[in-house]
Amino acid sequence: MIPAPEEIVLAGPAGWLWLAAAGTLILAAIAPLASRRLASIGALLSTGAGLSILGFGIVVLIGGGTYTAEWGQVLGLAPIALHYDGLSAVFLVALGLTSAAASLTVVGRPVRSRVEASAYPLFLASMLLVLGARDAFSFLLAWELMALLSALLVVGLRPTRSVVSAGYLYLAMTHVATAALLVAFALLATGSGGALDFVAWRGAAPSLSPMVHDAVFVLAFLGFGTKAGTLPLHAWLPRAHPVAPSHVSALMSGVMIKTGIYGLVRILVDVLGGGPDWWGVAILVAGAFSAVLGVLYALMQHDLKRLLAFHSIENIGIILLGLGAAIILAAHDQDALAAMALTAALFHSINHAVFKSLLFLGAGAVLAATGLRDLNRLGGLARAMPVTALAFGIGAAAISGLPPFNGFASEWLVFQGLLGAAGSTPVPPLERMGAGLAIGALALTSALAVACFVKATGVTFLGLPRSSAAADAHDVGRPARLALTLLAAACVALGLGAGPAVAALTRVAATLIPPGSAAVTATVSAAPAAGPAATYAALAIGLLLVPAVAFAVFALRRAGSARRVDTWTCGIAPQPAFQYNATSFAKPIRLFFGRLLLPEREIHIEYHPGTPFPLAMRYRSEVTLILEDRVFRPAHALSVRFAELVRRVQSGSLQLYLAYTVGAVLVLLWWAR
């Protein structure tokens, strides 16, 4: 129940698009409550809203310009105060694309519960507000709304015990993180005489003392980092994302955690205008650890959605590498390079949104088709669900950073940013070395990502089915397939069209970090550009690959149809159990990185009675999540024990209680004497 608009400056086509999106979302939220039959229409409406958000984002991104609006009042504060600019637009594009596709997958599916069905569009709306909020109050309001709704969607109304605890952990962590944000914002507000407006803060930021700047940085990193799921604030992510409904997981991994990145850029770069280079170093370190550990843990999973969740941590790490490089470079006035690194971070944010939601929706399709998330029981699905398989494969290639897909383009830019940081002399040697190490970390990460997605794709879609459920799977409905195709196409489009995309994002980055006149040392372009600067001619390379591959394909075709025979398995009829599965595929890496992963395994062998011949064998191997298992759990247990200890104070003895009062009185008298 929001009162009539007080001020709407959401003008022009963009304005209409925004209003269309908002209106559709509200309708979509009401529809399921109205009647169960309308629920699927709600999904359709959400799709439409997603598309208009996408349109809105593109218009703002290309057309530039800003759009503001304001509604309602509480204690003289406006609950909804919007101001969309280029930075918002970057994430709006991600939101639009992802939400359109995600909503499309649930069109025509029976709704699990009407409450959730109506919470879902509101969740989209909350993200739309977060990206537009122009002051601390409306931002935190939308932010908390987003957290609450996503948590509701994760938990649902009839959750199992583990789901509840996952949702609880998520909500609690994000709420504590928000407290940090609140303090950070309050500090900024005091700087600008109590004004809550981001713009006002930008003006007042220089007048704040460096100590305040650092405090804000730390708090903002805690607050936004938790939402983004960077190490060591990630504990909630791999637990909450897998248990959510797949289209929600897609949105959470694709967009919601990006709002953390958005917040970091908005506050650190836009409002504070960068900072000392130790900020950048801190972000770089967090990013490197997130990337490497994220992908390593992902490799160790055999639950498909959990695997994808860990990859979100990895990609957030990659984005942070770009951001960290940008801040370090900006701190030493290498603005051209800094802008490029920032562009890298923004571009990877969009790309990750696309391919991660694609992968989650693909996993959702697999789940819908087989009811399985356990890779070790999947296999051979490519035959039954070719579209899903192809789309998932493209997503896998993209997230593994392979040309000519979009993931490679943004990782290439991140590499260039780090290279710039390592190479520019004004940056102190140690920081340069840090950037060098980050390059190594990123290389390791992308190689491990290749390994992980060979495993995920291969074990799921190739070979022989490992369970009956996988054996008689059927591809998902047309809307879902359409959504997957859409996103896969986006992966290719953003890969080949990286040139224009990067150009647009560079304009945005330039508004945040004005790049002086210095020459750019690396460019992603469509057409080749000779010269000393490193280039990635995305379109040209892509187009060159086509004939190169096509020729070979043609040659293969000429050989005529192959004679079909069984796979050679040393003379026995091939069986699914012969294949490498998720666990065995990852074994070499599990052993290579044993010091880090601390794997533990148990093998049960039952023998034929009285013989040395095994009858049945069971093998289980789990790795240790160092932070969770060795730090967080003990800490939590400790704090609870502490609470138990404190509760002894309330011993039930009246006399003791009196003693407290008297003691307090005496202390007070002594204090006030």
């Binding site: 003289g76 109050f137 109590g194 007070l668």
Partner: protein, 492 residues
């Protein structure tokens, strides 16, 4: 006219209580209903008038109702009405289960009305001495209500409440004495010398040392009643053992009343001693209170005790807000007071439903409330979320304002610590809440109460809390601002 209304406001519940005591059960129920309605209408009307036309004075200045008083009065009658509305259903269950005897019903209503009489008197009295008398009276009466179910725990709780409350209020009396002593030189030995309107007026002329001690003891005394650590020890016992409607009243109203009294002293103190002294004390005790309440919420085994400790926590927040001072924090504090009353009373009522249905307050045994009792469980879950200050909850706004205001007034560390503690308190509350709402109920648990009326009773206050988080209508905004101005004291 005003005299008459004021008299009606206090006398109706007083006399009604007398009637209820002598009448048979259903008769007393009717009397209670009528008296409650009248009191509510008159009370709201009176505060409405006050907000509309400014402060009201009657009986030669013995009664004064300014915006702050009007606000407290309005909250009092509203929450009391909620509690009263919940009472018949509650009593029916208790009588059926044999926890109460037939005779107790009439007594319950009588005591409830007398309790109400004391509560509505508090914000009217322009005299610190009579204020004390009224508060002590409510303590004594409510002590009887707390122990009305003669279970050993109830008796224990009531006994502790009585003793600790009386001794605590003894300190408040000492404070009042000192205030009197400090003002006698200025105002002479008349009851004038205890009229806070006058005291605030002549505050600069008061004997500072006396005033210092006066506020100190008032803090101890009313702090006891309001549940500031370390004087809170009685609170979880009493609030958890009392009949749920009474718990709602205790948490939703009495705490506010005590706070109100303390605020009057605070205003005199900042008038006489300036900012530093009383504000520092309030901030200190506020933080201590929140910090100590936290572990008790984390490792809590009893549903109603959990809510009680959350009340303690929120009183800490209010003390903090008033200590911070400054328009933003005070505005936040003002709204917070009201929203906490509404949310907490609704929570106690739904918790009461659940406790009666499951037959135990032990959190370990309360599971799957959403399935077993859709209405009460849903209301409880929503209430927890709103109370914890997740949007769209007014409490989100108020906590935002309080922390922001605190930092703007330079209390960066205090505000930051408070923000952290609050979020942790939410974690604790949500932990127990989640396990209560979801999960599998034992097959033995009977189906929970249904009925539109129950739903409305529980939902309306929550709806208000939620709505105020997005939009405060202008009249309410104006009223809050008026209260804020008074809380602001000399530097409103």
């Amino acid at each position: 006219m005003i005299e008459l209304t004021a008299a009606v406001l206090v006398l109706v519940p007083l006399v009604g209580g007398g009637l209820a005591w002598v009448l048979p059960a259903d008769g007393s129920r009717r009397v209670a209903a009528v008296a409650m309605t009248v009191t509510a209408v008159v009370g709201l009307g009176l505060s409405g008038v006050c907000f509309g036309l400014g402060a009201i004075r009657a009986f030669g200045g013995l009664l004064v109702l300014d915006a702050l008083g009007a606000y407290v009065l309005a909250l009092t009658v509203v929450v009391a009405a909620l509690a009263m509305a919940a009472s018949p259903r509650y009593l029916r269950h208790e009588l059926e289960s044999g926890a109460l005897r037939a005779l107790d019903e009439a007594r319950y209503y009588a005591l409830l009305l007398w309790f109400l009489a004391g509560l509505v008197a508090i914000p009217l009295l322009d005299n610190l001495g009579l204020l004390w008398v009224a508060i002590e009276a409510t303590t004594v009466v409510s002590a009887l209500l707390v122990g009305i179910t003669r279970t050993p725990q109830a008796i224990e709780a009531a006994w502790k409440y009585l003793i600790l409350g009386t001794i605590g209020l003894g300190f408040a009396l000492l404070g009042t004495l000192l205030a009197y002593a400090s003002s006698v030189p200025a105002l002479g030995e008349t009851s004038e010398a205890l009229a806070w309107t006058r005291l605030v007026a002549v505050a600069p002329m008061l004997d500072p040392n006396m005033l210092r001690l006066a506020f100190l003891f008032a803090l101890v005394g009313y702090g006891t009643k309001m549940g500031l650590v370390p004087f809170h020890t009685w609170l979880p016992d009493a609030h958890s053992q009392a009949p749920s409607p009474i718990s709602a009243l205790l948490s939703g109203v009495t705490l506010n009343a005590a706070l109100y009294a303390l605020v009057r002293f605070h205003l005199v103190a900042i008038g006489g001693l300036g900012e530093g002294y009383s504000s520092t004390l309030l901030i200190g005790f506020g933080l201590l209170t929140i910090a100590v309440a936290l572990p008790f919420m984390v490792a809590q085994g009893d549903l109603k005790r959990l809510l009680a400790y959350s009340s303690v926590e929120h009183m800490g927040i209010l003390a903090l807000a008033i200590g911070f001072g400054g328009p933003l924090a005070l505005l936040g504090g003002t709204l917070h007071m009201g929203l906490h009353s509404l949310a907490k009373s609704s929570l106690f009522l739904s918790a009461g439903e659940l406790v009666q249905q499951y037959g135990t307050p032990r959190l370990a045994r309360l599971r799957g409330a959403l399935g077993a009792a859709p209405i009460a469980g849903g209301a409880f879950g929503t209430g927890i979320v709103l109370l914890a200050g997740l949007p769209p909850s007014g409490i989100f706004v108020t906590e935002f304002a309080i922390v922001l205001g605190g930092i703007q007034r330079g209390h960066v560390l205090a505000a930051a610590v408070a923000a952290l503690l609050l979020s942790l308190a939410f974690a604790a509350l949500a932990f127990h809440g989640a396990r209560l709402i979801f999960g599998q109920p034992q097959s033995t648990t009977p189906q929970g109460g249904r009925g539109r009326w129950l739903a409305i009773r529980l939902a309306v206050p929550l709806a208000v809390v939620a709505l105020l988080g997005l939009w405060t209508p202008d009249p309410i905004a104006a009223a809050l601002d008026a209260v804020r101005a008074i809380l602001g004291g000399t530097h409103g």
